[in-house]
């Protein structure tokens, strides 16, 4: 249908609109691409719709929230055109999620081992031995000592940092083409955050997996990503290479976001919150755009 480019993007979101049942829009004409092996940061304030984009891709939108318009292509395959079961399997085979809160993302009554190997065996069709060997290999890679003992333990026996490393191992285990990481460090201790971030970056480089990295921390954006999408009230207001965004931000909101980020190496610059006048102006734009959209729909 709309394959305008010659090569295949790992992820291609075209004009995505998502709304609540009463028609309130949560995402407005969002388009973004991920190339193979690329890390794209998705930034914006709380409630901007960052997680909603990830959920739309992975097919886990909340019950009443629906895609009203747009296309999502994973490795060139149109997800919307598929039956729910096919879509579920396709997404599972090609992508994975590193969740925000490692304390609630592991099943408290099941052992760690099966929680990693189950999908490999039952969804990816691997043999038991292969899945087990892969789990061991990945746990070792994320610096878990005694992987065999850990695989026999329950989540409550492990620390938050360890659980997040296990979830990272589980995400990378089936060698996905795309990983959605939704604020994977926000729920962790500051000391652990850096290790986790480094781990994701290392593994991403080694495997060449594309990562959609949701965060609201511009410091993290600078460290991990090659591309940035800035979101405000469900709209993309800036989409550029990370270095361009930091050196020469096009949108005043992006400028404000960068200014609002306390950076240790530029200690001279005072911390400035995003100006309220700017936020008010952006909201006015959004409301106006929505009114226009509603009009267009009525005709």
């Amino acid at each position: 249908m709309t394959s305008t480019t010659a090569h295949t993007h790992t992820l291609d979101i075209i004009n995505l609109n998502i709304a609540l049942p009463r028609g309130q829009r949560l995402l407005r004409n969002v388009s973004l691409q991920l190339e193979p092996g690329e890390v794209r940061a998705l930034v914006g304030e709380s409630g901007a719709g960052k997680s909603m984009i990830g959920k739309a891709v992975l097919g886990i939108l909340p019950h009443k929230i629906k895609m009203t318009e747009g296309e999502i292509l994973l490795e060139g395959a149109h997800l919307n055109a598929m039956t729910p079961a096919t879509r579920r399997r396709t997404v599972a085979k090609m992508s994975a999620l590193i969740p925000q809160d490692p304390l609630t993302a592991l099943n408290p009554v099941r052992k760690i081992g099966p929680q990693i190997t189950d999908p490999l065996i039952r969804i990816h069709g691997w043999s038991h031995q292969r899945a087990l060997a892969r789990a061991r290999e990945l746990l070792d890679r994320v610096h878990i000592r005694a992987p065999d003992r850990v695989m026999h333990s329950y989540p409550h026996e492990l620390s938050g940092g360890m659980r997040q490393r296990i979830l990272i191992a589980a995400a990378f285990a089936p060698s996905p083409r795309l990983i959605v990481a939704d604020e994977p460090t926000t729920a962790l201790d500051v000391t652990v955050q850096k290790q986790i971030l480094r781990l994701i970056r290392e593994l991403q480089r080694e495997t060449g997996t594309a990562v959609l990295f949701v965060t609201h921390d511009m410091g993290v954006v600078a460290k991990i990503s090659q591309k940035v999408t800035v979101l405000f009230a469900g709209r993309v207001i800036e989409d550029a290479a990370t270095h361009t965004v930091f050196e020469n931000p096009a949108h005043p909101y992006t400028q404000a976001l960068i200014a609002a980020t306390p950076t240790p190496n530029v200690s001279a610059r005072p911390f400035q919150p995003v100006p309220s006048a700017l936020i008010a102006e952006l909201h006015r734009d959004t409301v106006a755009a929505d009114a226009l959209f509603a009009q267009r729909g009525r005709r």
Partner: protein, 335 residues
């Protein structure tokens, strides 16, 4: 640690049972109706009554009677039934298997039926199917077990007589078992005729007892399943490609079973209480049926024995529920 828990548990059980023994002993003696008077024909003289009173020890003081009885109980002698003239322990233990098999079957039916409906309800959450199942289980719950019994007798015993409505087993079958566990021993011995006949007799009373509990499990387990299905680990399972049914059965069920189990334990003891009337209704030769006879005949030793056995049964069930709770919850397993 575990040993200490078990010890405390046993001690409290002993104290509870002693308390039950005292209360029952006093209650059956202050309740109206003289057992001796019921054994004698009308017009018996005071002299005859006094003689019989002395024979059964009712002429002694309440405290004395209790001490004599308790002394016997400690040695395993629960006295002799006044009406049946057999040792109470023998009578009661002879009937226990029937009631145990009946209530176990009822429990299994309730868990299977309630669990199935709960899983379907959770799978179809937010749809008309869920509402329909909710309304149905609400209606089922509002009818008590003995009314279900009457309904079953009417439908499957009278209007469309396909099931046996009285007794525990076909009396024509020759049963030379060592225990009274007809189903259990029948399976071990490969006597499928006994098992089949017992099951067909047990089906209606067991269903009567099971239906209200099944409805309760359906409602509570579904609620707990829906709660578990909003948790992050179930979302992650969906992302990993598992179908909604697989997510429910593999991820949510065990988590939802934990809070449900506590209720099932309590309700199971109510279910056993329900056997008293339901067994009567179906002339099922169990402990409950015997209890009603014992009360009608003012058979004091027998009443005491049955009540004590029921009390012991309840404490054992509570213990089993606690144990299975620990087994299902890894957080409690490694204290």
């Amino acid at each position: 640690m575990l040993l200490k828990t078990v010890f405390v548990r046993l001690l409290t059980t002993a104290i509870t049972l002693f308390g039950v023994a005292v209360v029952v002993f006093i209650l059956v003696r202050v309740a109206p109706g003289n057992p001796i008077a019921m054994m004698l024909p009308p017009g018996a003289t005071d002299q005859d009554i006094a003689t019989l009173n002395a024979v059964y020890g009712f002429d002694k003081s309440l405290a004395e009677q209790f001490i004599i009885w308790l002394g016997g109980v400690i040695q395993g002698d629960f006295g002799t039934s006044i009406t049946l003239r057999q040792p109470v322990a023998e009578l009661v233990l002879g009937r226990l298997p029937a009631t145990l098999e009946l209530s176990t079957l009822a429990l299994l039916l309730a868990v299977a039926l309630g669990g199935f409906v709960a899983v379907i309800g959770a799978r179809k959450r937010g749809t008309g199917t869920e509402v329909g199942l909710d309304l149905t289980s609400g209606a089922v719950l509002s009818v008590p077990d003995f009314l279900w019994g009457l309904i079953f007798v009417l439908v499957f015993g009278v209007l469309w007589p396909v099931l046996s409505i009285s007794g525990r087993v076909d009396p024509r079958i020759d049963i030379d078992f060592t225990t009274n566990f007809y189903i259990f021993e029948g399976l071990l011995r490969g006597r499928l005729d006994v098992v089949g006949s017992t099951l067909s007799h047990m089906l209606m009373p067991a269903m009567s007892l099971a239906l209200p509990l099944a409805a309760m499990i359906a409602q509570l387990l579904k609620q707990n399943l829906k709660e578990a299905l909003t948790q992050d680990y179930t979302t992650l399972a969906r992302v990993r490609g598992f179908s909604e049914t697989a997510v429910i059965l593999r991820e949510a069920l065990r988590n939802a079973a934990l809070p449900t189990l506590a209720l099932v334990g309590v309700q199971f003891t109510f279910l056993i209480g329900g056997t008293v009337i339901v067994e009567r209704l179906f002339a099922f030769e169990g402990l409950g049926n015997m209890a009603i006879d014992a009360v009608i005949n003012r058979d004091l030793p027998l009443i005491q024995g049955i009540v004590l056995l029921f009390a012991a049964l309840f404490t054992v069930i509570n213990l089993l529920v606690d144990l299975s709770y620990t087994f299902l919850n890894p957080r409690l397993r490694h204290g």
